[in-house]
Structures are given as structure tokens and as C-alpha cells.
Amino acid sequence: MQAAEKRFVEKLKTYLLFAGPTTLVFITVIILPFLFGIYLTFTNWDGISKAYTFVSFSNYKTVFQDAAFWTSFLRTVKYVFYTVILVNSLGFALAYALTGNRVWGQNLLRTGFFVPNLIGGIILGLVWRFIFSNVLVYLGRTFNIGFLSYSWLANPHKALWTLVIVSVWQYSGYMMIIFIAGLSNIPRELLEAATIDGATGFQRLRTIVLPLMVPAFIVTVFLTIQRGFMVYDVNLALTDGGPFKTTQLISMHVYEKAFLAQQYGVGQSQAFFLFLLVAAISLTQVYFTKKLEVEV
């Protein structure tokens, strides 16, 4: 009995020495707030008053009836849809053009396309705010280009596209890096053999390269989807949700609900919905990756 107790104390000491700090921060920063967050969704706390009551599922009911939430959700889906397609096709095209064939200044080009990823979304948003509201308008007015002669940021039909454009610019270089890693793993002999057999460049791309790149595409597509649903910084700095809330994406909606409208319970219910969505997306990715590993 005493030996077992002593061994337990030894174990505990080792555990606390090696994993104590990590365990402490993990529990106090992630686990407790997460659980407390679930509890908050069942209360009507307004952020200020000390007292709040238990309201069972009424917050969730409010979320389902909140038209602004669903509008913002569908808008985010639309934004994610276009971003995923454009980011991945452009990223792949860049990677394909910058591997294999001899390109003069290959490294310089890769570096340049990657640069936007080094800088925070807030700064990128402010940079593009200037581009959209001044530079492009100047071009439009000087050269009489109708669709550029007024700021897209002020136009409810165009403002969402500014977010898509900036996100494509921001992430295509990042995905390019992942595609380059995938492309450089394709055995050279395979491509050479196909060339000897008379395959054209397009045939090689379609029958050899693209099928072998499926794992890379799984990574990049899901990464883009996840980031798309969680985007906040660029949204805030570039459009601030405007004009007339036509560009308010889901994260910003949650932020406003909780911190500006002071409906913490409803805001947290919406955040929880976002969690379920992102978790489902990630688990789908894991499922596909595992399935592919079994097949190969």
C-alpha cells in the first residue's frame, strides 16, 4: 500500500514538473471557458448585471429566428464558396507554373506571391481600403472606366467582392507553398515515361499530376473553408461590415451580438453554432484523409 502511494507521488511529481504548466493553461484558457460558454448559452446574461437567469433553450430559439444571423451566415457561405474556388485554382496554377519548368527567378516569384501571408489581416485590410477607395477610383475616373469610377467599398452589390479579392490575394500564395510541396513529391520518372509514350502536357496534368495531388487539395480546400468561416480581421479593417451591413460575415456578427449588443447568451449560442460547423468541417477532412491513406 505504502509502496503504491509512494509511486503515485513520484508519478505526480514527474507529471507536474513536465506537464504541469501546460495542463494549467490548457484547462484555464481552453477547457473552462469552453464549458462555461456552453452554460452561458442557457442564460440571459447581458454582460453587466450580476444576476442572470436560466432560460433553457430560448437563446437557441432566438438564434433560429434571428434573420440577420442567417443572412450573415448565407453571405459567409457565398464568400467561402468563391474564395475556395479562386484561392485553390490560382494557388495550384502558380505552383504548377513555378515547379518543373525552368522559370527565370523562380525563388523571387515564390517569395513575392507568399509575402501577403506574413502580414496581419488588419494591416492588409487597411492597405486595400486605400487601394479600393482611392487608387482604383482614381484609375476609373482618369481612364473613364465606369465600374471603377466609384468606390466598391460604398456599393452594397460590390463590397463583398472586395473581401473575396483580398482573401484570394492573401491566401493563394500560402496554398501555392503547399501545392509546391506536393508537386515536388511526384516522381520525375513517371512524368518522363508519360512524355516518352507521347502524352501532351495537358494529358500529363490531367491523368498523372491532378490525381496525385488529391491529398494536397484536401488540405488546401479544407484550410480555406475553415479560415473563410472564421475570418474577422480583414472584414473589420476593410469594410467594417458596411455598407449597410452587407458585408458583415458570421464572426463579426457574433462579435457584435455579444460585445456591442450585449446579448452574451445569444452571441455565445451563435458562436457555439460556429464551433459545430468548423468542427464538422475539420472532421470531414480527417475522414477523407484517412480514407485516402487506406486506399493508397
Binding site: 508519478k11 514527474t14 507529471y15 514538473l17 513536465f18 506537464a19 501546460t22 495542463t23 493553461v25 490548457f26 484558457v29 481552453i30 477547457i31 471557458p33 469552453f34 462555461f36 460558454g37 452561458l40 446574461w45 502558380l94 507554373a97 513555378l98 519548368n101 527565370w104 523571387l108 516569384l109 515564390r110 506571391f113 509575402v115 501571408n117 506574413l118 502580414i119 496581419g120 489581416g121 488588419i122 494591416i123 487597411l126 492597405v127 486595400w128 486605400f130 487601394i131 482611392n134 487608387v135 482614381y138 490575394w169 500564395g173 507553398i177 503547399i178 475553415q226 472564421m230 480581421d233 462579435y255 455579444a258 452574451y264 452571441g267 455565445q268 458562436a271 460556429l274 464551433f275 468542427a279
Partner: protein
């Protein structure tokens, strides 16, 4: 045939360099306009500055409080990044080398927690730490970064430590090293390349992060560089020359960091993306 191939190659270069110019043009425009006055910018944002005056830079530098903001960002990033690397490596080492049931549970919980987006935690986080009067403090922000960064770091180290043979450590143990000494003298040096990748990923994340510091750091003298730049923009919305100079000042440190560590950064991003 040869002429055709040459023409195609030329076309490809033209396209790539054209796109390259488009990608970098926003930064170039910010750069040239940071030397101009508001009137010069409005009359032609493409024109080169008539004189390369540093006036905007010195004014923006002072008014935004660049030095304190930079120092805040630096302290927060460096402390968080080192803390995450050291504590997570130790934790991962323990998790790999012992098969206690509690370790398995913790490791599973940490990997699973990577599914939680920040937005799902931010509201209760502010509620809890605000209720304890712990907000508006740089050290609490660092503490939170340790929490948000450790899951991925433990996961990354766990994968690598598994591949290190035990024999090395056993030899050191026989020579009389304690477990802690074995870790710091034998294991941690072997993790160098993983640590470097991790540090790079975390520096890019924490240096550029906005939402968490905007919720935690309330008073102006605690703000990090992205926060300071954002609020500066709010104050001087139409003073374009100043704004461009402020943006340039914020972008510059990152570009310097990138030029110095370019190869490692690209590799770190690749490893992080593929394992995440």
C-alpha cells in the same frame, strides 16, 4: 518547334511577372504614397513623390507611439513563443515516454481542442477573466497565448519525439542524469528543427493577431502594433500620407524578419499546414 517553345516560355514569364507585379503593387503604392502629402496623394496616387521627405514617418512614429507598441508586441511575442516551445516540448516528451492513462486522456483532449475556433471561446474568456479583474494586462495575454498555442505545439512535438530512439536517453540516465537533465541536454537539442518551425508559425500568428489582444488589452499604453495601427487609422482616417507611413512602419519589421529567415519560414509554413 523550338521557336514555338521559346514563345510559350516567354508568354509564361510575361504572365508570371505581370501577376507578380499585381501581387506586390499594393505594398508599392503604400510605399510611394507614404512620402507624399494628402493633396499629392489625392491628385495622383501613382505619381512618385516630388521629394523623398521623411516628414510623414517621423510624425506617424511619434503620434501612434510606435516604440511602446513595438516593445509591447515584442515582449508579448517573444515570451509567448518561448513559453509555448519549452513547456509543450516537455509535455510532449512526458506523453510519449510514459503510458499513464491520464496522459492519454490529456493528449486526446488537447488534439480534440484544436477543433474549437477562437470565436467559440472568446465570450466566456472575457467574462471569466474580466470578472476576476485580470484583463488589461500583458502577462495575462501571454498566459492566454500559452493556452491557445500549446495544443498544436504538443501535437507537433509528439509526432517528432516518437521517432527518437530511447537508447540515447537510457545511456544518459546510466551516466547519472535526472529525467529533467536528459530532456534538456539530450532530447531538446534534437528537436531543433521542429522548434524552429514552431517558433516561426507562432511568431507570425502572435505578432499579427488582432482579436484576442483587442479584447484583453484595453488601455492604449498596453496595445500591440496591429492594435495601435488600427486605432491610429481610426483617428486619422483621411490623413493619407500619415496613414501610409504608419502602415509602412508596421509592415517593415515583418519584411526584415522574412528576409532574414525566408527559407525556414517557407519550410515552417509547409510543415505546419500539412500536419494541422
Amino acid at each position: 518547334m523550338k521557336a514555338l517553345r521559346r514563345a510559350l516560355s516567354f508568354l509564361r514569364h510575361l504572365l508570371l511577372y505581370g501577376l507578380f507585379a499585381v501581387y506586390l503593387s499594393p505594398f508599392f503604392l503604400v510605399l510611394i504614397n507614404s512620402f507624399k502629402s494628402r493633396r499629392e496623394i489625392l491628385s495622383n496616387p501613382f505619381g512618385l513623390p516630388p521629394a523623398w521627405s521623411l516628414q510623414n514617418f517621423t510624425t506617424a512614429f511619434q503620434r501612434m507611439g510606435f516604440v511602446p507598441a513595438f516593445m509591447n508586441s515584442l515582449v508579448i511575442t517573444v515570451c509567448s513563443v518561448i513559453g509555448i516551445a519549452v513547456f509543450s516540448a516537455m509535455t510532449a516528451y512526458l506523453f510519449v515516454r510514459t503510458d499513464w492513462r491520464f496522459n492519454k486522456l490529456m493528449f486526446f483532449a488537447m488534439v480534440a481542442s484544436m477543433l474549437i475556433p477562437f470565436q467559440a471561446i472568446m465570450i466566456p474568456l472575457v467574462r471569466i477573466y474580466g470578472g476576476l479583474n485580470l484583463l488589461n494586462n500583458r502577462w495575462i495575454l501571454i498566459y492566454m497565448y500559452l493556452g491557445f498555442g500549446s495544443s498544436f505545439a504538443v501535437f507537433l512535438y509528439h509526432g517528432f519525439i516518437k521517432s527518437i530512439p530511447k537508447e540515447l536517453e537510457e545511456a544518459a540516465m546510466i551516466d547519472g542524469c535526472s529525467r529533467l537533465q536528459v530532456f534538456f541536454l539530450v532530447v531538446f537539442p534534437l528537436l531543433k528543427s521542429t522548434t524552429l518551425s514552431l517558433i516561426i508559425l507562432n511568431v507570425l500568428w502572435i505578432w499579427n493577431d488582432f482579436l484576442l489582444p483587442s479584447l484583453v488589452l484595453i488601455s492604449a499604453n498596453n496595445r500591440t502594433l496591429p492594435l495601435t495601427t488600427f486605432y491610429f487609422h481610426g483617428t486619422y482616417t483621411s490623413d493619407y500620407g500619415l496613414l501610409m507611413a504608419a502602415l509602412m512602419l508596421t509592415i517593415l519589421p515583418v519584411i526584415i524578419f522574412y528576409t532574414g529567415l525566408q527559407k525556414h519560414i517557407i519550410r515552417g509554413v509547409m510543415e505546419g499546414a500539412i500536419k494541422a
